[in-house]
Amino acid sequence: MTQQRVAAPPESPAAKRIPLWKILALPTVALMGVLVYAALALAPEDADQGPAQRIFYIHVPSAWIAFLAFAVVFVASVALLATGKRKWDDRAVASAEVGVVFTTVVMLTGPLWARPVWGVYWEWDPKLTAVFILWLIYMSYLALRSYVPDPSRRARFSAVLGIAGFLDVPIVYLAVRWWRGLHPEAVVLGKGGPQLPASMLQILLFGVFTFTLLYLVLFTLRLHVGRLRSAQEEVQA
């Protein structure tokens, strides 16, 4: 029996360009090293919380990236429903996956910060509960995709969940203002501007910048993997 193989589609000029994740990967890893050094060695020690407060420099940027990632899912889902173009579904799922990773980081670092400061790992506080629901929504978004075999129906169903799920993001952000709980208010974008010393704020902003680069690396790499998978499915179909 002779084996038959179908030729892979020729690479487009865009595919020959150096992808963004390859350009950004090394600088991002280097900047992450600088961030860890700054957060653990250079940042001043918090007078009330002691060393545990240093978790702040990865907890807050992770939350920022989760919000950014789910905002991208929202925009891509709206664009998918408006245009029907598959590229928007690829972007939405890539961002949702990265968003789930960073929400998991938030849910890992939060309890590790809470235990030495609050005395408990977890409390069903309004903000923490809203974050847990956010994580469940986007885990469901990813799970849903494996239950719908038809690509166009899968894209539309996911888009509806991607839009509806984003409603939880402002709830997570505003939960502290709406309902009183253990979680403190935002210290940078809260009422009355930044509520922390300049030396802490600079390291936090550097962390947000570095994590944004990390998001771009992971998002574009996941997008690339998604395209390779789609090309393989088309060849096999």
């Binding site: 002691g50 545990a52 990865i58 980081v105 890992l108 670092t109 590790l112 910060w113 030495p116």
Partner: protein
């Protein structure tokens, strides 16, 4: 566990989670590219 123990757990845990995800993406990419090269031969 001391406060520094919680800090170390948070930083190491984050590195393992994000690094593990990046490594899984790179592994999938390599597998798919190998399959693609194989099918074009």
């Amino acid at each position: 566990m001391s406060a520094w123990g919680f800090v170390a757990a948070a930083y190491i845990g984050t590195a393992l989670l994000v690094g593990g995800y990046a490594a899984s993406l790179l592994r999938k990419k390599r597998t798919l590219e190998r399959g693609r090269r194989g099918s074009s031969r």
